[in-house]
Symmetry: C2
Subunit: 400 residues, 2 copies
């Protein structure tokens, strides 16, 4: 696999990106002691004996605002300080304007004021030199604000991996060719949307016919410009399944593996061409889905330095019938419904090429080979993506 690339992005555009460096604050927040409210900056020690009967009188010698440098007061003096203004030298508190009485050029303080009252202290929120964020963290909305707050203008983040998607098959026709005979190439569009969701940049290569040389050329070109290549279809064991041959011819060393003990999805596989992983996704959509979650999503996460399941959402649910896996493990699609305080998981059966079985379900589990799961078993269902929450489960999120 190619090493992860890096890029510098403006802080304003860094949401969801993965930091490459530690971020150490080179400033304090607040940068200096500042007034938290509009008021009068004073020396608190002068007010210890202040009372309604014996108010302390202080002379107003000026006013200070947020965009100014600190002024200075003496014991019997005060300065009007607008919210956010730097505290004048020698002052250690601010009396709110609603708590004083103003007489021309003097104010009357009628109760004791504590040291640092209504003052935001230097570095109270962020201390200069402190570690703000660690390398490897995903930048959240609050982090964007924090980075901008300490004056960071741009951050070094892991480049999003480019995932090139090659559709293989003579039978395929382009989308939007209304009435054109053949099979619409809609699976590439699904994989492309999944790639985006997992943090990659999808690149749609287009359709390549079932021809060894064409497939070799396509994979070779894609491997040059992408970080990860996925092919869809042409990776089974029939005479027209030429993707494994193409990869083997390009590498001279064969595949890393071809075939897994999972159904649907059995014929998925991986080769390495020019340091670029080439993921062979099967041509049936359910198998391709399984291949995406097992091979593509983890590779994207690895490239980004995240855990394999970085964006996976798991929901605990109770099987509503017995399940038995055959001689291979099963990629079982499940529809979730909520009742009586818990999720119920209903298996959605159907052929490996039935896209509606994915559309009618919300997530999946892997049932190990020959394993029997009894009705009522609690399973962790892996949601297909975050949109499952907003959709079928939208009134049900309380159950999480």
């Amino acid at each position: 696999m190619k090493p992860s690339g890096y890029e510098e992005v403006p802080v304003e555009e860094s949401l969801g990106r993965v930091l490459v460096t530690d971020i150490v604050s080179n400033t304090n927040i607040p940068d200096q002691n500042r007034a938290v409210f509009d008021g009068y900056a004073i020396q608190s020690s002068n007010t210890i004996n202040a009372s309604l009967a014996a108010p302390v009188m202080l002379k107003v010698i000026g006013a200070t605002f947020p965009d100014q440098n600190p002024s200075k007061i003496h014991a019997s003096q005060t300065v009007f300080a607008a919210c956010g203004a730097p505290l004048p030298n020698n002052a250690d508190a601010v009396v709110k304007i609603e708590n004083i009485r103003l007489h021309e050029d003097r104010i009357e303080v009628r109760s004791p004021v504590s040291p640092w009252e209504n003052v935001a202290l230097t570095g109270e929120d962020v201390k200069k030199g402190c570690l703000l964020m660690k390398s490897g963290c995903v930048i959240r909305p609050q982090d964007v604000g924090l980075l901008a707050g300490v004056g960071t203008e741009s951050v070094k983040v892991i480049r999003k991996p480019r995932v090139c998607i090659i559709s293989v098959g003579n039978e395929l026709v382009k989308l939007n060719k209304k009435g054109a005979p053949g099979v619409v190439n809609n699976y590439a569009l699904i994989i492309s949307n999944l790639v985006s969701e997992w943090g990659g940049i999808p690149q749609l290569f287009g359709i390549v016919p079932d021809d060894l040389q064409f497939i070799k050329n396509a994979i070779s070109a894609a491997a040059r410009k992408a970080d990860i290549v996925t092919t869809i279809a042409g990776c089974s064991v029939g005479p027209k399944d030429l993707v494994p041959d193409a990869i083997a011819a390009l590498t001279g060393k064969g595949l890393v593996f071809h075939g897994v003990g999972l159904s649907p999805g059995k014929v998925m596989g991986v080769g390495i061409v020019k340091d670029t992983p080439v993921i062979m996704l099967p041509g049936h959509i359910v198998s391709a889905y399984a291949g995406f979650y097992f091979l593509v999503a983890p590779l994207i996460a690895r490239y980004l330095g995240l855990g394999d399941q970085a964006l996976s959402l798991l929901v605990s649910a109770r099987l509503d019938c017995d399940i038995e896996a055959k001689s291979t493990a099963t990629f079982l699609r499940l529809r979730l419904t909520y009742s009586n305080g818990e999720f119920k998981a209903e298996p959605i059966h159907g052929g490996a090429s039935a896209l509606t079985t994915i559309a009618n379900s919300n997530g999946y589990i892997i049932v190990q080979e020959k394993k029997v799961l009894k009705k009522g078993t609690l399973v962790n269902v892996i949601l297909f993506d975050r949109y499952e929450l907003a959709n079928t489960l939208r009134e049900l999120t309380e159950g999480f």
Copy 2:
């Protein structure tokens, strides 16, 4: 509130959008009976008695491909059918090429073939006239594929609400004004990122000084062009808090409400200007966060026709200490850690203006007024956003 607007978007760009109309399929998938593998199209009834000892011989009269119309065979004939090719008339099965022996212009079938073997039947996945998706659904990756598969080129979806963000305060300075005295306007950037995450289009209005006329002009201009307006700061009860006055002056009817029983966040409020909800978010960031989750996020969801908690992720966690709310309900920030098979929730205390308390936590709960929650209580922590999963919790998703 203004009615939700609609727009037509290409299917390829419809991920995450909310459908306005039901989608009924006007085609079958497959559109006609098609070969599932490369093979020979036959009449299965001819092969009932086929065996190794007495193979059935069929004459090859042609070949058919996915982009052709169905050909036709008679009982003793066969046609080579490429994967995806329409089944010839009179044929009801396909024998895989690996299961026949080819002799010049004839094939030898050596075992019985079942009716419809290796054939994808018309409408097997999607039936013409069936309801594919309901109005109000969020479009997921698999739905994009399904819509494209039935030939839909564009869909009518709810327009994303435009949320205009006005920052109020003399003390604020623009981002990237390094060394400029004052307080950096980073809170607007946070709210803008949260708006995007919740499905709105943020519009940064910029900074407006603490001046009634300026604030009135800003809100009035924003209400003309946005679906939702939020102001940040200037909504407390001090002499410089002019946003409530500005809204009242614009409406002539005062506010819908001003002040809630939640701390931090007490001074949030809502007015309606030109049919546009104007949300007053408090100037302290923790209070503004509370205001976002309580007023802005639900309004965006409502505009999109989704449940209030459409994207909220809840994690069940055990409090690691006693919690006691004061006389108002508390917006309690919590850091989650995982050990011994469950999440532990640790309260992060700090002032309402401490952005680091948000950065150091993963979500929040509301503790009702005067309520005491004992150490060990299980609470549903609402994650700030989905990035909390990839980040602090990235190795921990098994706990969901």
